[in-house]
Symmetry: D2
Subunit: 93 residues, 4 copies
């Protein structure tokens, strides 16, 4: 089971909300809403999506990485290597 | 009309795709996909959403800000002030 | 003269402070400061540097872009194109 | 010893380079360099600083977090909690 299992329902709820917000942005564009107001909403949804990513990442570190480290140093290092790449992608997105 | 009017259909198409991608992330979570793969997808969708924002911003500068500047220095400055706040929100999101 | 001329001294002062903060981070590393505290300081300095960038960008839009737009639509569009690329680099950094 | 000890000299070297780059940006401003060129350099230095942060973070996860996890689940969770906050600050900066 992935690290986020315990909070799965909460993540699904947050992602449904993000999906609705993206649909709302499309509606704003369709209705010729003023550019700046669309941009404000895009910044808000980007933050919401990144917050989901940060939550999943913490759950991953807390379960998969900690569990691997408890198996062996090597297993821990391998999982850290993989998590570090994922963090870099989040920071640069 | 907002600055993005000419490209409205292209923006709507990109936003529909982002909406589908967010739904895809929810499906990944629902199916217990490995955390790192979910995070990779979140980073990709965040970038796609920011790219829409950057496109809208350029259209805004190209139409609303340039048009305002051609009316008067004051009108141009006011629009720049507003756009600068929107840019700061995108950079910090 | 570039758009930031009027605020040149203020920018130089802020950049000197950022330079001192980077030197401070090097000192923290040299003194084996706890990783998390070094990271907190790196995040703060990154923000300070981006804030300088956002300020310069607003000055640029307010002077070079508005002035170009007042010369001709074409000159305005060309400057907007260039500014949009710079904004994309800031958003992605 | 912090997690980055083994690479301390490499980090110090990279931070000295970042410091020199910030000084270079101040020089560009002092010499009235074109705004867009200053912004390009600011984006590059921001990335260099974030790359140092990402490196320190991976070293931290690889040493402090893995070691804590091997002591006890609780110690691991505590270090993960702390690291997650630091990651959030990097993502939002």
């Amino acid at each position: 089971m992935p690290g986020y299992s315990d909070d799965k329902d909460a993540y699904l709820k947050r992602l449904r909300r993000v999906e609705g917000q993206v649909r709302g942005i499309a509606r704003m564009v369709d209705e010729d809403t003023y550019c700046i107001d669309v941009l404000t909403q895009i910044a808000a949804v980007t933050k919401a999506l990144q917050a989901v990513g940060l939550g999943l990442l913490e759950d991953h570190l807390d379960h998969c990485v900690v569990d691997a480290a408890r198996q062996s140093h090597e297993a821990g290092h391998e999982k850290v290597r993989e998590a570090a790449d994922a963090i870099a992608r989040l920071v640069r997105s």
